[in-house]
């Protein structure tokens, strides 16, 4: 019985969303129209075997248009930092120069958000109705973005990558994240984050084969106002492409791995 109700709510939510699309010419022109509960129920109803036909096709293989070590604002400027932010970044840059960097990525810790989007090499976006999954060849990183609507955090454990929730709006895909542990750097130059950081990413196709990620960082401890960076990715051909398993920890091993079986 409960199951039937869940299916029912989910379907109503999606039908309502589809109806909204027909009236407005685009699905949910206002962000946050899909309430978390309804979207979650919709996710239950459509766990997603079929390709997502409703939304722009961001699924497939991509790679960065250019490698980015330092995040800057959309107009190419240094992010607006507080004194504390400047101090911490200066300290990190000095450590990098002294070859004493404490970049968590050097210990194979996860790049978190948004730094995983700075990963070099190909990545895949898997687009299904209930979920967006991002798979990076680089370190075999993975992002699970359940399309549960605007993020609502209650007693969330602090995570390196934060907690995500996604939804579609008229422009494309929105991913909200918060609940960070504050330990990761935002980029290779040590831009800081605090546990109170909030990140909103807006993915959209600027052409059929170009994907844009506008990343807005809000973190009053280290930044004097919210700022936005822009990353772009180019579509890669090749359905059936395999993302090679790149494992970060191999280079930290005490001794090289050897196969167990004796040679024939």
């Amino acid at each position: 019985m409960i199951r039937a109700i869940r299916v029912s709510v989910g379907c109503l939510a999606v039908l309502w969303a589809v109806a909204t699309q027909s009236q407005n010419g685009a699905l949910t022109t206002k962000e946050g129209m899909l309430r978390e509960k309804e979207a979650a129920a919709a996710a239950l109803a459509a766990p997603g075997i079929a390709a997502d036909k409703l939304h722009p096709r961001i699924g497939g293989f991509w790679e960065p248009e250019k490698s980015v070590d330092a995040l800057v604002t959309v107009d190419g400027k240094t992010p607006p930092m507080t004194a504390a932010g400047k101090r911490l970044q200066r300290q990190r840059v000095a450590q990098i120069r002294a070859k004493k960097s404490e970049d968590p990525m050097a210990a194979c810790l996860p790049p978190g958000t948004p730094r995983d989007m700075l990963s070099p090499g190909p990545f895949m976006i898997v687009q299904t109705p209930a979920k967006i999954t991002m798979l990076h060849q680089h370190r075999h990183l993975i992002r699970h973005v359940y399309l549960d609507g605007p993020l609502k955090l209650v007693d969330a454990d602090p995570w390196w990558e934060g907690h995500f929730s996604g939804y579609w709006n008229a422009e494309g895909l929105v991913i909200e994240s918060a609940g960070f542990n504050g330990n990761q750097w935002l980029d290779g130059t040590g831009l800081p984050q605090s546990p109170n950081m909030k990140v909103v990413e807006r993915f959209r196709l600027v052409s059929p084969d170009t994907l844009e990620d506008l990343i807005t960082i809000e973190d009053a401890e280290f930044y004097s106002k919210p700022w936005t960076a822009r990353l772009t990715f180019r579509r890669l051909p090749g359905e059936g492409r395999h993302l090679v398993q790149e494992e970060c920890m191999e280079k930290l091993l005490e001794f090289p791995l050897k196969v167990y079986a004796p040679a024939e």
Partner: protein, 271 residues
């Protein structure tokens, strides 16, 4: 009326809505949907008990989050028989057991946060999330925050494939069973924590089948004539948990040691 349409007439409105949802996304005009009376097309059937949707193609839907009901430190043969070790493999297994009993466990790549490989990943106690697309079945594991790509496009493993922890997997449907064949494994990992070894020649055939609407059975058969005198099979089982979300999983945070001056993690164990 087709048999599929007849089937629909016996289902509740909620299921009709569910079916209409997928159909509506692809087939109906926006106007028709706005009238909220999408007739379900014959190509799609749903099943209220399963809370999922069966698409026109005869591909069963096994997508979603599943929690492990089995967790085997020791992956011994599911038929209760003894493990058909070849001599070197038995020696390897017994050496590890003796070292562990003496409180001096030998090196295992998974202790360095490297994947346990196939099939060990299947007997992990943490949830998996299966995502199905026409060309690819993905098994996303909470364990190590990893992913396996299972190629459903019918193409063989590329000739230049470099052996890896999860190898190269191809899949096809045999009736209601997803059959996954994996080769290209790197031979660095063990079948289980207890220390059953494998060679890089191991071929693993996994069979994923819903035993009940919410229960997924996985039987894996290991073919490795360099390690075992005959093929043998293990078993894992999962329960569907659609409300569950995969958690972050950071093995590296448990590294009590920092890399030393040469950049290596010293664990004080022998290989």
């Amino acid at each position: 009326m087709t048999s599929a349409e007849k089937e629909h007439t016996h289902r509740s409105h909620s299921v009709l809505a569910s079916v209409g949802l997928l159909a509506g996304l692809t087939l109906l005009s926006a106007t028709a949907v706005a009238q909220r009376a999408p007739p379900p097309p014959a190509v799609v059937t749903g099943d209220a008990a399963r809370r999922d949707v069966r698409v026109a193609t005869d591909i069963p839907n096994i997508s979603g989050v599943w929690v492990a009901l089995t967790c085997n430190r020791s992956n011994s043969p599911a038929d209760g028989g003894s493990t058909p070790f070849l001599p070197w493999a038995r020696q390897f297994f017994e050496n590890r057991a003796a070292a562990e009993a003496a409180g001096k466990p030998l090196f295992d790549p998974s202790a360095n946060c490297l994947p346990g490989g196939v099939p060990r990943i299947i007997s992990s106690p943490y949830p998996i999330d299966i995502v199905q697309t026409p060309d690819l079945t993905l098994i996303l594991t909470e364990t190590l925050h990893e992913f396996r790509m299972i190629h459903m496009d019918g193409k063989p493993k590329p000739a230049d494939f470099k052996p890896s922890y999860f190898g190269y997997s191809t899949g096809h449907w045999d009736g209601d069973t997803l059959v996954v064949e994996t080769t290209g494994l790197n031979g660095y990992t063990q079948v289980d924590e207890e220390g059953r070894p494998k060679s890089s020649d191991m071929r693993v055939v996994e069979r994923y089948q819903k035993r009940a609407p919410n229960i997924l059975d996985v039987t894996y058969t290991l073919y490795d004539p360099r390690t075992y005198s005959r093929p043998w099979s293990g078993h894992a089982q999962f329960k569907w948990a659609p409300e569950m979300r995969l958690s972050e999983y950071i093995c590296e945070e448990n590294n009590r040691n920092k890399p030393d001056a040469s950049g290596k993690l010293r664990m004080g164990v022998e290989q």
